[in-house]
């Protein structure tokens, strides 16, 4: 049985999929998005957080069975409310074996969402995507250089996993964090629209407007928030790019 590092198991995460859900936040992420508002999810190791005068360790070791037991104890309630469990992060693909083991122990009636950046190996991605009911797939930038600049990684494996996903015909939602002057440009949004247009399984695109409080947690994690773009710039909420490609779009 595998073990892994989790930084939060939060109940009633109502924006992470259908119905009432509990979200498991896995620690560790290969991306370093400049706008990340969960900096405590980046490092794969437990770390000390200082906030409001109190210190606590963020990131705890769990056995897969412990996590599954806790989620299963609420399975009836989650199912009765059209919900289930979401694996998020950090990046769940970084602990794919651990996540797989948890899922294999979960009550079969639980609806499972994988919330991923898509950044992981093809085999890890396939292993998890095959086991879940729905995927929330984050897409940030189509331009490869911009992607490297703002997230620290190449988007090639991400786009490759996206294509693999559509071959499964697994329902998925594309989520785009709208970052002013970075991801919200007409060019980027229409490039994303063209990329996802007509993909089998695509439910809709969710646009997530920029969260100005993004930098708030950095100091307490002993990190520096240095976004490198103008946070106060007006957001370009251009949903027409998607309508033009007949892609259903929502602003969260």
């Amino acid at each position: 049985m595998s073990e892994g590092i989790i930084f939060d198991i939060r109940e009633f995460c109502i924006h992470d999929g259908p119905g009432i859900r509990t979200t498991v936040f896995l620690k560790g992420c290969p991306l370093r998005c400049k706008w990340c508002h969960n900096p405590e999810g980046m490092s794969a190791e437990p770390q000390m957080i200082n906030s409001a005068g109190s210190r606590r360790i963020v990131g705890e070791k769990y056995q897969a069975s412990e996590v599954a037991d806790r989620l299963n104890s609420q399975a009836d309630i989650l199912c009765a409310n059209e919900g289930g469990v979401t694996f998020s992060g950090g990046e769940p693909l970084m602990q794919s074996r651990f996540v797989k083991d948890i899922i294999d122990l979960l009550d079969k009636k639980l609806h499972i969402v994988l919330d991923t950046s898509g950044c992981g190996t093809h085999s890890d991605f396939q292993m998890l995507a095959a086991r879940v009911d729905m995927v929330y797939f984050d897409l940030k930038l189509i331009d490869r250089q911009a992607h490297v600049k703002y997230t620290g990684v190449d988007n090639d494996p991400i786009l490759c996993n996206l294509r693999a996903l559509s071959e499964f015909e697994k329902p998925f939602v594309i989520r785009i964090p709208l970052v002013p002057t970075v991801t919200d440009t007409d060019e980027n949004l229409s490039a994303i629209a063209k990329t996802v247009r007509g993909l089998p399984g695509l439910v809709r695109v969710d646009l997530l407007p920029y969260n100005k409080a993004a930098g708030g947690k950095y100091a307490s994690a002993g990190m520096v928030f240095d976004p490198g773009y103008d946070e106060s710039a007006q957001l370009n909420l251009n949903i027409d790019c998607f309508k033009k490609e007949q892609v259903e779009v929502r602003v969260a």
Binding site: F12, T22, I77, A252
Partner: protein, 676 residues
């Protein structure tokens, strides 16, 4: 809301009506002392003189009238504050409206004839009649003034109500406003408004059917009525402004057990949401099968951040009341007194918040004395049991000696007082006493921490724990850390802590049941609320074994202790579903804070409604959900002038944040820090 109503709301918020206030109330005490009057006579004289002293206020465009002009309640006893007059119960508004005060007067005159040889009953009935006449004389003065001002509509209405049965929904609202205000004039506070959608629906339904009103006319009238309830809250003497008991209970079942939800239930929820003020406080009765649409409508109200509705679960409350000796039909008719205490309108002269079971104090003494004496953990639990028993016994002894001051006008609005020639103060059908069970989570956490570290793991020495408690943890950081951060906590669906919680309530229920029913006269009802005791006890109790330092607040109502990060609302509900509510019937809600970020998309209202349904399905008793934005609270503290209309839930009531005392503001902020 139309523009007139928006203007009206604004004027009430600005308290423009304060210009009508007179300087001083009539000196009733001097007159009573001169005549050496009985208590009954004093009470009747109070309402008479208060009604006479009121000046008429009819503002332009106003359609439901009555504005208080006397700023306070004069004394009628040299040695007793008016705050001790009968309060915190609920009249039988259905009966009072349908019979009208003249109907009640006839009943009193009948009884007067029957009881002419009984001097006590005769005095009571004479006083009841005089009280009715005083209120009717005030209504007549209003009618006359309205006539002179050319407000024939108001004049016509006040010639009919509150004397007679209302002929329309509009008249019913006016009648209720007048009688409710008269109770305040007579010195009674925390006057519950009961099952408003039940007793008012008859009048509204008739008007909608006959075409006298459209739905939108009715909504406007209702909005004006609700705005008017916010008028006189500044002359009211609750602990904090806002704590005025104008609570409405909606939904549930009828006395025959059939579904009581009607179009007015929904209309009230809509209108209160649009009015957006602190009164009336809304309660909604639900059950495991309540329609999700109704819960969505109620949740829209929650999303506005008004701190209501508060929910009560019929599946749990009704059997619990029956188990405590209430007839099934009466139990189905329950409402709340002012905050959350369950009460039967017109049939309960219950003192629902007579005293407080101070769980943290009792547990703290048991732990300190038990550790000092070398007890086992069971020994400590036994001390808790004895402590709870002793407190209950003490409260019962005091209660059995209680004497309530007579209340002839309130008696007019209750069931059978007039008919039996007996004042409300000598009892009605139910005369029980309710005791809060305060700060239970903190107390349970203390027991769970001691059990784990002193008795199971043996990693804290009893003598060290005692020394740490005495030193308020100064120099004992490691012990405090273990107790606070490495111990089971209530709210996580963890049996190690939850079993301590259920033990406390089991002991409490045992203690009350042991006291018996006092020859069928009264029982003690254990409850789960804390009222303001989570603050009051902070300095009264030193450092406690859950890792709390002296002066830090305790948990409020049924909620995890402050500063505790819990898994989330599902675990909180699972924890609280373990209490045996059949034995704990006085009320006291599970209290949860939601961040307003929850409501950022369309689906969220439905999901929060599902959470409310889960509360009912898990068999919990009462729930209060509050929505707020932490940053907004902080800003309001720094810049009150920018947030005058910011509303928060305090305990059983909502108030304007900027009008609260600083310690309550601080506690609210602290709660929201841990919002879900």
């Amino acid at each position: 809301m139309n523009e007139l109503l928006i203007e009206k709301k604004h004027s009430v918020r600005e308290r423009e009506h304060k210009r009508f206030r007179q300087q001083a109330p009539p000196d009733v005490l001097a007159e009573c002392e001169r005549e050496n009057s009985s208590g009954m006579r004093r009470a009747a004289l109070l309402i008479k003189r208060q009604c006479e002293a009121e000046s008429v206020v009819i503002e332009p465009g106003e359609r439901i009238v009555f504005t208080r002009t006397i700023p306070c309640i004069p004394r009628i006893y040299a040695d007793m504050d008016p705050v001790c007059l009968i309060n915190n119960i609920c009249a039988d508004w259905q009966m009072a409206l349908s019979q009208g005060l003249l109907g009640r007067r006839e009943a009193a005159a009948d009884a007067r004839e029957r009881y002419k040889d009984n001097p006590q009953a005769s005095e009571f009935l004479d006083c009841a009649i005089e009280s009715i006449d005083a209120v009717l004389a005030l209504a007549a003065r209003y009618a006359q003034a309205a006539e002179q001002m050319g407000r024939h509509d108001i004049a016509q209405m006040l010639r009919n109500v509150p004397a007679n049965a209302p002929r329309s929904f509009h008249e019913a609202l006016q009648s209720l406003k007048f009688m409710h205000s008269a109770l305040w004039l007579a010195g009674h506070y925390h006057v519950g408004l009961g099952r408003f959608d039940q007793y008012m629906w008859t009048y509204l339904e008739a008007d909608l059917k006959s075409g006298v009103l459209t739905e939108s006319d009715a909504e406007d009238l209702l909005a004006e009525f609700f705005i008017s309830l916010n008028k006189d809250t500044d002359v009211y003497y609750g602990v904090q402004r806002g704590d005025n008991g104008q609570s409405i209970m909606l939904g549930g079942v009828k006395r025959d057990g059939s579904d009581a939800v009607n179009p007015l239930t929904r209309m009230v929820l809509r209108v209160v949401r649009d009015v957006g003020m602190i009164d009336p406080k809304i309660n909604l009765r639900i059950n495991a099968d309540t329609d999700l649409d109704l819960l969505c409508l109620a949740t829209e109200l929650t999303s506005k951040g008004l701190g209501f509705p508060q929910y009560a679960n019929d599946d749990v409350v009704i059997p619990s009341l029956v188990a405590h000796g209430y007839d099934l039909e009466d139990a189905r008719d329950y409402s709340v007194a002012a905050c959350w205490e369950f009460i039967i309108p017109g049939k309960g002269m219950e003192i629902v918040n007579y005293e407080t079971m101070r769980f943290p104090k009792i547990v703290d003494q048991a732990i300190r004395n038990g550790l000092a004496a070398g007890d086992t953990f069971d020994g400590i639990l036994n001390r808790v049991k004895v402590g709870i028993d002793e407190a209950a016994r003490r409260y019962a002894d005091c209660y059995s000696k209680r004497q309530l001051p007579p209340a002839p006008f309130y008696s007019v609005l209750m069931d059978d007082c007039i008919e039996n020639g007996r004042d409300l103060s000598s009892g009605v059908k139910y005369n029980n006493v309710g005791i809060h069970g305060a700060c239970s989570a903190s107390a349970a956490d203390a027991l769970a921490a001691v059990k784990k570290h002193v008795f199971d793991q043996h990693d804290i020495d009893p003598a060290d724990l005692l020394a740490a408690l005495d030193a308020d943890y100064d120099g004992f950081e490691d012990i405090k850390q273990k107790l606070q951060n490495d111990s089971p906590k209530v709210g996580n669906n963890d049996d190690a802590a939850d079993s301590m919680l259920t033990t406390l309530f089991d002991y409490f229920a045992d203690a009350c049941e042991k006291l018996g029913d006092h020859d069928g006269k009264w029982i003690m009802r254990p409850g789960t609320g804390s009222a303001m005791f989570y603050l009051y006890m902070a300095d009264e109790v030193g450092a406690t074994a859950e890792g709390r330092k002296k002066g830090e607040y305790f948990s409020a109502n049924l909620a995890p202790a402050p500063n505790i990060r819990v898994h989330g609302p599902i675990s909180v509900l699972q924890t609280y579903s373990k209490i045996d509510y059949k034995r704990v019937c006085n009320g006291g809600p599970i209290t949860m804070e939601l961040s307003d970020a929850v409501f950022r998309d369309q689906d969220s209202v439905r999901k929060v409604a599902m959470l409310v349904r889960t509360f009912a399905q898990l068999g919990c008793q009462q729930l209060q959900l509050n929505t707020l934005n932490y940053e907004k609270l902080m800003d309001a503290k720094a810049h009150p002038e920018r947030h005058r209309d910011l509303i928060v839930r305090v305990w059983g009531w909502s108030g304007y944040f900027c009008e609260l005392a600083p310690e309550y503001q601080e506690h609210v902020i602290n709660r929201y820090k841990y919002a879900l």
